[in-house]
């Protein structure tokens, strides 16, 4: 029989499946971290995980609560300075997949993590860009994980923090970028991929039990669906067991903060 699962587990499994053993991932905390380690502990044992705190080839036994948890350094092949991380490893083109997310996303997968409202008179001041601008420019491709809602999937961003496909089409190429940009947008409802021509993010796979109407009701632009639309395979029992063990270990290590 198949175990019941949560929307977050579905997102995490879908993201993990997109990774393979040849990938070098620039990992953020929370869901991307869970997805990368799930991949490492299941079908992609050779995957290399890099966190911006400088830890290279880290194999954490529990998930980090912060980008610089001691666990990441203690289980890493080595740890370099942050300037070296951004210069030699990220900008040097060593990273195949970078994970991003944000408070707002548009149909071309541009992201906003800086401000809601006007920059100099913010309605809501968000944390800022972190490494997102260069991650979006320098990683071979970008996977975005976000929960869908009309508040976050918007027709127009208040501020562009990191570049997706810009205004679409060959915008990235016109800016001189050779990297692919966002190739997957994984949500709690479905998976989007860029249209080959327009680069607009298009639904290619819908999670089990989710309807096209639900997706449209939670998206701030008219959603395009791929012709060969499929259903996302539910998380397997193996994926769920490994992921839940990982979270359980993390809870034991960090207590209720995990």
């Amino acid at each position: 029989m198949t175990l019941a699962y949560t929307a977050t587990e579905m997102m995490t499994a879908a993201a993990a499946r997109a990774l393979n053993s040849r990938d070098v991932c620039f990992v953020g905390i929370d869901l991307p971290s869970a997805a990368c380690n799930l991949a490492r502990l299941t079908h992609a044992p050779g995957i290399k995980l890099i966190y911006e705190s400088g830890t290279i080839e880290t194999k954490p036994n529990v998930l980090p609560l912060s980008i610089g948890d001691g666990e990441l350094c203690e289980t890493a092949l080595t740890t370099v300075s942050v300037p070296e991380m951004f210069r030699y490893w990220l900008q040097g083109g060593r990273v195949t997949v970078g994970f991003l997310g944000g408070a707002q996303i548009d149909r071309f997968a541009n992201l906003n993590t800086i401000v809601i409202g006007a920059y100099d008179k913010p309605a809501v001041r968000l944390p800022g860009s972190g490494g997102a601008p260069e991650i979006a420019n320098c990683c071979g491709e970008i996977f975005i994980t976000m929960r869908q809602s009309k508040r976050s999937f918007v027709d127009r961003l208040d501020f562009i923090t990191s570049l997706g496909h810009g205004e679409g089409g060959d915008h990235r190429a016109r800016l001189g970028l050779k990297t692919k940009g966002p190739t997957k947008l994984i949500t709690d409802l479905c998976v989007f991929e860029p249209d080959p021509e327009t680069r607009e993010m298009t639904v290619v796979s819908i999670h089990p039990g989710i309807t096209a109407e639900q997706i449209e009701a939670n998206t701030g632009w008219p959603v395009r669906f791929a012709a060969n639309l499929v259903e996302t395979p539910a998380p397997s029992d193996l994926e769920l067991r490994v992921l839940r063990d990982l979270h359980a270990r993390t809870k034991r290590a960090h207590g209720e903060q995990a």
């Binding site: 350094c73 800022g128 903060q257």
Partner: protein
């Protein structure tokens, strides 16, 4: 040559009103005790520089020490917003806070350029985004060989860099190990440097020939403050106080609660308070350090 001083003397010797101060530490080794001392000494009009302003700068900003923030990510990691930072930016309380906002890559390169004696840093980034529209310090340079355009930002050259490290030796040299962040670059880029340490040793003893060490002649003052990174951590000495990061959200949410907490835990206390946190969160020495 660095001088060993009390934290109070060290801060008095290195931080004045109006200074540009960079307090670094990337999750690991955040110099919280030094931040508290700056607050106790009532410094004002500081330009605060830090890649990841978190609780340490929420406290300095909420207590009115800062007039400007140069940064690339401001939040309570894994928890949420910094309420004092947002109150200053959104409502000007307790005073307005000017922002100079960059990306992590730009900040890291700007420290490296400062350490390298260059006035600017060059990076591949900022393409197709809005930050250059709101930050006049993001400009461009053209490669004289390929004609490609790259982003340029001014080097960071703070008046004072403040970091927390694991050990200093009797000669005043400082050893950093584990997650290194931008601390070495911040110290080498600054005019003055204050380093708080967990431990003073006679000699660093057997170590990698390539250990990350700041020679005493690159540091102004060293202060021995066990636990001085709390609620951040010091690898091999104590763990990160994740519960405190969560608790901070409620403490900082409203102005009165924040002020009351700062009075009880910072203004009415001294650096020795940090030793108790270290004992409470003591970690077994790491295998590899």
């Amino acid at each position: 040559m660095s001088e060993l001083m009390s934290l109070a003397d060290a801060v008095a010797a290195t931080v004045s009103d109006g200074d540009t101060v960079a307090m670094e530490g990337f999750t690991h080794l955040i110099p919280h005790a030094a931040g508290h001392e700056i607050i106790r000494q009532g410094r004002r009009r500081l330009t605060l520089v830090r890649m990841t302003p978190d609780i340490i700068y929420d406290q300095l900003i909420g207590m009115g020490c800062a007039e400007k923030l140069v940064f690339s990510w401001g939040g309570n990691p894994g928890v949420g917003s910094l309420h004092r930072l947002r109150d200053a930016v959104e409502n000007g309380w307790p005073r307005p806070l000017a922002l100079e906002e960059h990306s992590h890559g730009a900040m890291a390169n700007a420290y490296a350029a400062g350490a390298a004696g260059l006035p600017f840093a060059v990076l591949r980034g900022y393409l197709g985004v809005d930050l250059p529209k709101v930050n006049p310090n993001i400009r461009t340079v053209t490669c004289p060989f390929t004609g490609e355009t790259f982003a340029a930002v001014p080097a960071l050259r703070p008046d004072t860099a403040i970091i927390h490290a694991l050990k200093a030796d009797r000669a005043g040299n400082v050893l950093i190990e584990g997650i290194l962040g931008v601390q070495k670059e911040a110290v080498l880029a600054a005019r003055r440097a204050l380093v708080t340490v967990e431990q003073i040793v006679e000699d660093f003893g057997p170590r990698s020939p390539n250990a990350v060490i700041l020679p005493s002649w690159t540091v102004t003052a060293v202060a021995h403050v066990p636990g001085g990174a709390h609620p951040s951590y010091a690898s091999g000495y104590y763990k990160r106080d994740n519960a405190f990061y969560l608790a901070w959200d409620a403490i900082a949410r409203d102005r009165d609660g924040f002020i009351a907490w700062m009075k009880a835990n910072v203004l009415d206390k001294g650096p020795e308070a940090f030793a108790a946190h270290r004992r409470r969160l003591a970690a077994p020495a790491e295998e590899r350090s």
